[in-house]
């Protein structure tokens, strides 16, 4: 079975190398618009996004991000809004808050793919340093970068080789035996 959505899910890959070609702000905006539709627990919207296209700011973010292998043309920083989480009686460190980081990230990755962009998530960065670089207000915690650009033809190898994975190897039906 296939359709456009399933095809996009199956063909998306993490881009660990990006070209120097710039990307239009309009494309970044489309990705942010898509993220607005990501599932959010209780529709609480505890996340804020910071879009960065200034080359120097991106360079500084990369200096503070050991996990950023690519040289992106734009970065969207997914932040947890701690005070807003607390306003709902939630700890900003509650698991659900991080789940919603993931739903926003996957939505952005698929949106980027649909627009012909390469995209890669990065979580290996210093929250403290990134907070200073972006002048984030108190309580806003950066949790994930979505690095954007055009995927380079040659990609560096992953940290482990791709092994065959089937949905059956990842799933159980009804309950464990």
């Amino acid at each position: 079975m296939t359709n456009a959505v399933l095809e996009a899910i199956r063909t998306r890959r993490v881009a660990r190398a990006l070209t120097d070609a710039p990307i239009d702000r309009a494309l970044v905006e489309e990705i942010l618009k898509a993220a607005r539709w990501a599932p959010s627990g209780g529709n609480r919207r505890l996340h804020r996004f910071v879009a960065v296209q200034d080359p120097m700011t991106i360079r500084l973010l990369r200096m503070a991000s050991p996990g950023m292998f690519q040289r992106p043309q734009a970065v969207i920083v997914i932040c947890i809004d701690g005070p807003r989480a607390r306003s709902f009686g939630m700890l900003p460190t509650a698991k659900g808050v991080y789940v919603d980081v993931g739903t926003a990230a996957q939505t952005m990755l698929l949106a980027a793919h649909s627009l012909g962009l390469g995209a890669g998530p990065v979580t290996s960065f210093s929250r403290a340093a990134v907070g200073a670089i972006l002048n984030l207000p108190e309580g806003l915690s950066p949790e994930m970068f979505i690095c954007l650009g055009y995927a380079a033809p040659e990609q560096p190898s992953a940290i482990r080789p791709r092994t065959p994975v089937t949905w059956q190897s990842l799933s159980h039906w009804e309950r464990f035996p």
Binding site: M63, A64, G67, I159
Partner: protein
């Protein structure tokens, strides 16, 4: 004779930031990222100094340091990964002797 400067302040700061922030991120991350971060830092340093280094050091950067094992090998065959890193380490050691001189004492 003093050594030539091979890093400018911007490059040194970039490397400093990488090392400091890697020390912090590594507290929360998989142990297997440790060597990867060190090799990434070494790669960036090599890129920075390549044009200003001595011919001998340039030879090291362009030769043995380009032969680092594939990151995925560590998961597949850790022994082979370590052996390949040892080959690079040996080349680094030999270059150190060549660059600084063996048995030379400044005291």
């Amino acid at each position: 004779m003093p050594s030539a400067m091979v890093l400018n302040e911007d490059e040194a700061l970039e490397l400093l930031a990488f090392l400091i922030t890697a020390a912090r991120t590594q507290l929360d991350e998989a142990a297997e990222y440790g060597p990867l971060r060190m090799l990434t830092a070494a790669g960036r340093l090599a890129d920075f100094i390549a044009e200003r280094a001595s011919p001998g050091t340039r030879g090291l950067l362009a030769g043995p340091l380009k032969e680092l094992p594939d990151a995925a090998l560590r998961a597949v065959d850790p022994t082979k990964y370590a052996a390949q890193l040892d080959v690079v380490c040996r080349a680094v050691g030999e270059h150190l002797v060549s660059h600084f001189g063996s048995g030379r004492s400044e005291s």
